[in-house]
C-alpha cells in the first residue's frame, strides 16, 4: 500500500462502556471504522445509538463516566486508545478538532470570540497571535460571518446561534486539522439558519481537504454533507455504504424505517364551518419590544392549524397570549363565540379545562418527584372531580389512549424515555378533556422515529375525540404530517396563511418560499441545487445581514 492510500483513521473492534447508577453497560459494541484523508463520513442513528461516543472516541477521548474496554484507534499510525494525555493534548485542536452540538454552551461566556478562536494555534505554537488573528478573520469571511473584521470582538451571548456555530467551525479550522468531528452541528438551528451553516461547513471542508466525521440524526442533512454513511443502532453498525447508494437502495429494514419518517402525510380536511378560536388583530409586547403585530387567524373545530416560523418569529409568544400568560396590548380573541378573558386568572374553570398546552421539553414540563399516575390523576381530579376507583379507571383509559402500559403509572418521569415522557404530557392534556390543545414544538426534541409515533398518536386522538390543535413548529415535514391549514409568521406578523396544499405547494410570500426551500431533502445534491438556484437569480447579498442568498430571496423589510 502506498502512503496516500493508507487511511487517516482506522478504528478496530471498539468497545466503550458507560456507567449509570453504578452499573456499567456497553454504549459502543465492537465498531470498525475507516476514514480516508479528505473524506466526509456521516454517522446516523437515534439518540442512544452511540454516535457521539464513537465520534469522541475517534479523538481518543471518552466522556467522564465512560471507559474504553477494547479495541484500537489508529490515527495516522498512532494508537489513540493507548496514547498518554500529553500526546493526545498535542493532537487535539491541532490535528483533530471538535465542533460541538450547542455552540452557545461550548463557547466560554467570559471571553470574546476571537480570543477563544486564536487560542488553539497560539497554545499549540503553530502561529503567533497577530498572524492567528488575521487568519481567523479570513476564516470568518470564508464562513460568511457578518462583519468578519469585528465580529470576533463580541462575546458569545452577543451573536446568534447560527453565527456561533460558524465561529466554532472557524475555531476548529484554525490549525487546518486533518480531521474534524462535527457533533450534530445544525440540530439546534432552525431551517433557514441550518442551510447557511451547512453550506459554510461544506465549503471550508472542501476548500482545505479536511476529513470529517459528521454526526447527526437528520438523514436529509447528512445526505448533503457526507460521502459515505454509517447507520448505527444500539452501539452496533447496521449498514454502511456510499451516500448515493444508501439513499437509493437501503438494505436493512431499520435503515428503511429511518427513511420513511419524512414521508408522513396527512390528507387535508376542509373545515366544516364551525370555528373554535378566532384571533382578531392581536398585538402584544414585552416591555417596549413588540412581539406580535396585527395577528389574525382562526382555528376550526376538530382541525389542526400549523403555526410556522423561525425562532424569534413570535410563535411561542402567541401561545402565551392564548393561554393567558401574556396580556395582549390590542386586538381580541374569541373562543367558542365569546370573548376570551386576557388573563388566565380571569378565566373560569371550564375555559381553563378546555384549552390545554403541551410543551417542547417534557423533561422540564413534568415534576420530577411526582409519579406518572399521579401527574395524570391530579388533572383528572382537578378538572373532572373524579376520585378513588373512578379516577384510577380514567387514568388507565388515558394510558391506553396514549399507548403506554399502565404498569408505568408508578414510575418517576426520569425512568421514562423522551418519547414516553411526551406521551405522558399528552395524556395530562387529554385528562382535562380539552377542545383545543396548543402544541409548542412537541416533537422537535425527539428522534425521528419517536417523533413519528407522537405525530401519529396526535392525529389518531383528533380523529377519535375531535380535539383541535394549534401546532407550533419550525419543521415543514411535521406541518405536512399534521396540518389542515398553515399560518406562517415572521417577526411577529403573519406573512401568509391558507390551506396546507396552497401554502406548501404554491407559496406566494417570498419568506415562505425561502423557508420551504430551506428544508433539507433526502436527495444527493439537493444543497448544491438550492444554493446555485439562490445565487444564480441575482447578485449575492453582502454578508452584512448574515445571509448569502440573492436579494430576491431576502424577506421583505418589515
Amino acid at each position: 500500500m502506498t502512503q496516500t492510500a493508507s487511511p487517516l483513521l482506522r478504528i478496530k473492534g471498539l468497545h466503550i462502556e458507560g456507567e449509570s447508577n453504578g452499573v456499567w453497560h456497553e454504549i459502543v459494541r465492537g465498531i470498525d471504522l475507516t476514514l480516508n484523508r479528505g473524506e466526509v463520513l456521516g454517522l446516523i442513528g437515534e439518540s442512544g445509538a452511540g454516535k457521539s461516543t464513537l465520534g469522541l472516541a475517534a479523538m481518543g477521548y471518552t466522556k467522564p463516566g465512560c471507559r474504553l474496554t477494547a479495541g484500537s484507534i489508529h490515527f495516522d499510525g498512532q494508537d489513540l486508545a493507548r496514547a498518554d494525555t500529553r500526546s493526545l493534548r498535542d493532537l487535539w485542536g491541532r490535528r483533530i478538532a471538535y465542533v460541538a452540538q450547542s455552540a452557545a454552551a461550548a463557547f466560554n461566556p467570559a471571553h470574546r470570540l476571537i480570543e477563544q478562536v486564536i487560542e488553539v494555534p497560539v497554545v499549540h505554537r503553530t502561529s503567533l497571535s497577530p498572524a492567528a488573528r488575521e487568519d481567523a478573520v479570513t476564516l470568518f469571511r470564508d464562513l460568511q460571518l457578518p462583519d468578519p473584521e469585528r465580529i470576533g470582538r463580541r462575546f458569545p451571548h452577543q451573536v446568534s446561534g447560527g453565527q456561533l456555530q460558524r465561529a466554532m467551525t472557524a475555531m476548529a479550522m484554525t490549525c487546518r486539522p486533518d480531521l474534524i468531528i462535527f457533533d450534530e452541528p445544525t440540530t439546534a438551528l432552525d431551517v433557514s439558519t441550518q442551510i447557511e451553516v451547512m453550506a459554510a461547513i461544506r465549503s471550508v471542508v472542501r476548500e482545505f481537504g479536511t476529513a470529517a466525521i459528521y454526526i447527526t440524526h437528520d438523514l436529509a442533512v447528512v445526505t448533503q454533507m457526507a460521502d459515505r454513511l454509517m447507520v448505527l443502532r444500539h452501539g452496533e453498525l447496521v449498514e454502511e455504504a456510499p451516500t448515493a447508494e444508501m439513499i437509493a437502495t437501503p438494505r436493512q429494514s431499520y435503515t428503511r424505517s429511518l427513511w420513511a419518517v419524512q414521508a408522513l402525510h396527512k390528507p387535508e380536511r376542509p373545515s366544516d364551518g364551525r370555528t373554535l378560536l378566532e384571533v382578531d388583530h392581536l398585538g402584544a409586547r414585552y416591555g417596549s419590544f413588540r412581539v406580535l403585530d396585527d395577528v389574525s387567524f382562526s382555528v376550526p373545530e376538530g382541525r389542526t392549524v400549523a403555526l410556522v416560523g423561525e425562532s424569534g418569529s413570535g410563535k411561542s409568544s402567541l401561545a402565551r397570549v392564548l393561554t393567558g400568560l401574556l396580556a395582549p396590548c390590542d386586538g381580541q380573541i374569541r373562543y367558542d363565540g365569546r370573548p376570551l378573558p386576557a388573563r388566565f386568572q380571569d378565566r373560569d374553570r371550564s375555559l381553563l379545562r378546555e384549552i390545554q398546552m403541551i410543551y417542547q421539553l417534557p423533561d422540564t414540563a413534568l415534576n420530577p418527584r411526582h409519579r406518572i399516575g399521579d401527574i395524570i390523576g391530579q388533572q383528572v381530579t382537578l378538572h373532572l372531580g373524579l376520585r378513588g376507583a373512578a379516577r384510577e379507571r380514567r387514568v388507565r383509559d388515558l394510558f391506553e389512549m396514549i399507548e403506554l402500559s399502565p404498569h408505568l403509572a408508578n414510575r418517576l418521569p426520569s425512568e421514562l424515555s423522551g418519547g414516553q415522557k411526551q406521551r405522558v404530557c399528552i395524556a395530562r392534556a387529554l385528562a382535562a378533556e380539552p377542545r383545543l390543545i396548543i402544541c409548542d414544538e412537541v416533537t422537535s426534541a425527539l428522534d425521528q422515529l419517536v417523533a413519528e409515533g407522537i405525530l401519529k398518536l396526535l392525529m389518531r386522538l383528533q380523529a377519535e375525540v375531535g380535539v383541535s390543535y394549534l401546532y407550533i413548529t419550525h419543521d415543514i415535514a411535521t406541518v405536512d404530517a399534521v396540518a389542515d391549514t398553515v399560518v406562517v409568521m415572521q417577526q411577529g406578523r403573519i406573512v401568509e396563511q391558507g390551506t396546507k396544499g396552497d401554502v406548501l405547494s404554491a407559496p406566494r410570500d417570498s419568506y415562505t418560499c425561502r423557508l420551504l426551500s430551506s428544508v433539507p431533502r433526502i436527495e444527493v445534491g439537493w444543497l448544491d441545487a438550492v444554493l446555485s438556484g439562490r445565487s444564480g437569480s441575482g447578485p449575492r447579498a453582502k454578508a452584512d445581514d448574515g445571509t448569502v442568498w440573492s436579494s430576491a430571496w431576502l424577506p421583505p423589510a418589515p
Binding site: 493534548r89 487535539w92 460541538a100 454552551a105 461566556p109 497554545v123 499549540h124 451571548h157
Partner: protein, 319 residues
C-alpha cells in the same frame, strides 16, 4: 444604582435598630456611670448634660445627623476640661483594626485562591485531601484556641514572634508587622478554609460545563483550563464569600484582639459596653454595620464587572 440605594436604606434601618437596642439595655446609664453613691441631683444633672432627658426620636435624629458628618458626639467618660469625642477615641483604634484586617487579608485571600485552584486541579489527590483536612481542622477550632496554640509554638517553643501585640501610633511598620504576625496568622487560619472551599466548589461546578470539555478538546493544558476558562466563570460566589470574610476580619476580631491585647475597635467596644459608654457602643456598632454593607456592595459590583453578560448587554437587533 438600585443596589447603592438599597445599601443606604439598610444602613439607616440598622442605625435605628442599634439605637433602639442600646436604649433597651437594662439599668440606668447615669447611675451605672456615676456609681452607687451618686445623689439624685447629680444623676439628674448628668442626664441633662448628656441629653438623656429628651425624647428618643430627637436624640436619634441628632445622633444620626452628626454621624453622617463623622461627629459621633462626646463619650460619657468625658468631663468638662477633659473632653473626649467618640471620633477621636475610635479613629486610632479603627486604624489598627484596618491594619490587622488588611495584613490578614493580604495573606488569606491569595492563599485561599491558590489552595482552592490547586485542590480543584488535583481533585481527590493527596494534596486535595490534605488541604481539605487542614482547613477543616482550623475552621473547627475556636479562634482563641488557635491563638493560644500559635502562641505556644511561636513564642514559647520557638521564640519568633510576640505574644502581646501592643502597638501605638509611633511603632514603625516592620516592628508593627512582627508584633501583629500572630493575631494576623490566627485570622488567616480561621478565614482561609471558608474561602478556599468556596473556590474549590465553584471551580468544580464550572468544570462540568460543555465549554470546559471544548477547552480540553482544543488541547489546552489543565492549568490553562482552570485559570483561563473555569476561574473567570466561577468568580461570583467566590467574590461574595471573600467579601463576607473581609468584613469578618474587621468586625469579628474581638476575641483575637482580647487574647493578644491588640488595641483595635473590638476591644474598645467591649470596654465601652462594660462602662455603659453608650455613644461609643453605638458608633462602633454603626461602623461595623457599615463595613458589612460596604463589603457586600463591593462584591455585587465586582460580580457585575466580572460578568460580560451584564457588562456588555446584547445589542439591539443582533440575533
Amino acid at each position: 444604582m438600585s443596589r447603592l440605594i438599597l445599601g443606604l436604606m439598610t444602613l439607616v434601618l440598622v442605625s435605628a435598630l442599634i439605637f433602639m437596642v442600646v436604649a433597651l439595655l437594662p439599668g440606668d446609664f447615669a447611675r451605672a456611670i456615676l456609681g452607687p453613691n451618686a445623689t439624685p441631683e447629680t444623676v439628674a444633672a448628668f442626664r441633662h448634660e448628656v441629653g438623656l432627658d429628651r425624647p428618643a426620636l430627637a436624640r436619634y435624629l441628632e445622633w444620626i445627623s452628626g454621624a453622617v458628618r463623622g461627629d459621633f458626639g462626646l463619650s460619657f467618660s468625658s468631663r468638662s476640661g477633659n473632653t473626649r469625642t467618640v471620633a477621636e477615641m475610635i479613629l486610632p483604634r479603627f486604624r489598627n483594626t484596618l491594619f490587622l484586617a488588611g495584613f490578614a487579608a493580604l495573606m488569606a485571600v491569595p492563599l485561599a485562591i491558590t489552595l482552592g485552584v490547586l485542590s480543584a486541579l488535583y481533585r481527590n489527590s493527596w494534596l486535595d485531601r490534605t488541604v481539605n483536612a487542614m482547613t477543616l481542622t482550623s475552621i473547627s477550632l475556636p479562634e482563641f484556641f488557635v491563638a493560644y496554640l500559635l502562641m505556644f509554638f511561636f513564642v514559647v517553643k520557638i521564640p519568633l514572634f510576640y505574644s502581646l501585640a501592643s502597638v501605638d501610633a509611633g511603632t514603625p511598620l516592620g516592628e508593627r508587622l512582627l508584633r501583629t504576625a500572630l493575631p494576623a496568622l490566627t485570622l488567616v487560619l480561621v478565614t482561609v478554609a471558608h474561602m478556599m472551599r468556596m473556590v474549590r466548589a465553584s471551580i468544580i461546578a464550572v468544570l462540568a460545563s460543555p465549554y470546559i470539555e471544548m477547552a480540553r478538546l482544543k488541547g489546552l493544558s489543565p492549568a490553562r483550563i482552570i485559570l483561563r476558562h473555569a476561574l473567570p466563570n466561577a468568580w461570583a460566589p467566590i467574590v461574595s464569600v471573600i467579601a463576607v470574610n473581609l468584613a469578618y476580619l474587621i468586625v469579628g476580631v474581638v476575641v483575637v484582639e482580647v487574647v493578644f491585647v491588640y488595641p483595635g475597635v473590638g476591644q474598645l467596644m467591649v470596654d465601652a459596653v462594660s462602662k455603659r459608654d453608650v455613644p461609643v457602643v453605638q458608633a462602633c456598632a454603626l461602623i461595623f454595620a457599615a463595613t458589612y454593607i460596604l463589603m457586600n456592595l463591593a462584591a455585587d459590583i465586582l460580580t457585575v464587572v466580572s460578568n460580560p453578560r451584564l457588562l456588555h448587554p446584547k445589542e439591539g437587533g443582533v440575533r
